[in-house]
């Protein structure tokens, strides 16, 4: 049986588990997306950000 069908049967069919899946999915998606964007931003701007220079002043 395919993964999709298993998922459908165990998670998406029942409202309670479905709602839980939505909530935790949102949480993990948001975290990964946020961390990924932030690290792209920091990689592009390496050396220019406050975090890169603050060690000189602490």
């Amino acid at each position: 049986m395919s993964v999709w069908a298993t998922l459908n049967r165990t998670v998406f069919k029942r409202t309670s588990t479905f709602a839980l899946a939505v909530a935790s999915g949102t949480f993990f998606f948001e975290r990964t997306f946020e961390v990924a964007s932030q690290s792209i931003f920091e990689r592009i701007n390496k050396g220019k950000l406050w975090n890169d220079i603050k060690h000189k002043y602490e």
């Binding site: 997306f33 792209i40 931003f41 701007n45």
Partner: protein, 308 residues
């Protein structure tokens, strides 16, 4: 408005053609041609809209060409570009230039010392910067105003008590507040840089009044601010050689941060928006293919009605 929209495409918008009808007739525009009036209206709208746009553009360009001031050349700012953040080391040096040079005449009233924290200074450093200035506060219990050392929550104090005092000290010219100057001047930081480094001898025929100086980038050429940036006009704590152009570049970057403190956040937002919207675009593309698959793969058969 609704009536006008109704007149343009009314009959077609509101006619109920059942479930399949609209899908079929939207696939082709040739089945029902536009009426003459509709064509006329739409082409008039198009011509008028395009004409007004072209006129505005031409007027704007001719105003630029007719001025006597020099146009600031574009400098390769390190925060230019979709994803490029401010160079915080440069912002910090720019703050030092503002503090040592510009602050004698210009206020910076929308920036507070707490804004420097984790942008250019650590919290302890920002507190020390604040403590160096005296802030007028009060009234105290006896109703008197008094001076006290600054705190993180204080805004930058103005060099003059009011505008009249500022004018009196500067030959009648008012040194504008610099908090929003980069957003407020055409050319932004390019203009600031050119203005600060662009002083020169007035060409023959230009008459300068007392206290005026010639600067080709200033509208009219005669500016009441003397050249303030020279090599070594300020000192940098990080050891960068303080040449005039370095000072101008750093103070312009600092003023850009003052005008747009959210610049870094916006660059980060651009990255996030591109990520988010490309995912949504993928979903929309899939959904479109999904919905159209029936439309594209079906066959329409017309069965002539037999007369019998």
């Amino acid at each position: 408005m609704a009536a006008a929209v109704g007149r343009i495409c009314g009959a077609r918008l509101f006619r109920n053609t059942g479930i399949v009808g609209p899908q079929v007739c939207q696939l082709s525009t040739s089945s029902q041609g536009w009426t003459r009036n509709r064509k006329l209206l739409l082409s008039t709208l198009g011509v008028v809209g395009g004409g007004v746009g072209a006129l505005l553009f031409a007027l704007e360009q001719s105003v630029q060409a007719s001025g006597s001031e020099a146009h600031p050349p574009h400098q390769p700012w390190s925060h230019d570009g979709w994803f490029q953040s401010l160079d915080h080391a440069s912002v910090r040096r720019g703050y030092e230039v503002y503090k040592q040079v510009c602050r004698a005449c210009h206020s910076l009233q929308y920036i507070a010392f707490r804004n420097l924290v984790n942008v250019t200074h650590t919290e302890a450093e920002a507190k020390a910067e604040a403590a160096e200035v005296m802030i007028k506060d009060g009234p105290d219990e006896e109703g008197n105003y008094f001076e006290r050392p600054g705190k993180l929550s204080d805004y930058f104090p103005s060099p003059y008590p009011n505008e009249n005092a500022a004018r009196a000290a500067n030959n009648g010219a008012y040194p504008p507040d610099l908090s929003l100057i980069v957003s407020g001047r055409k050319g932004g930081e390019d203009y600031i840089f050119s203005l600060l480094t662009g002083y020169m001898e007035a060409p023959a025929g230009i008459v300068l009044r007392d206290g005026q100086h010639y600067n080709p980038y200033f509208p009219g050429g005669a500016i009441s601010m003397a050249q303030s940036l020279f090599d070594e006009a300020a000192e940098y704590s990080d050891g960068t050689p303080p040449t005039a152009s370095q000072l101008a570049k750093d103070v312009a970057t600092f003023l850009r941060w003052c005008s747009e403190p959210e610049l870094d956040d916006r660059r980060l937002m651009t990255i996030k928006a591109i990520g988010m919207f490309s995912m949504l675009a993928a979903v929309a593309y899939y959904f479109k293919r999904h919905k159209w698959s029936t439309m594209k793969s079906r066959k329409l058969a017309y069965k002539p009605v037999s007369k019998k």
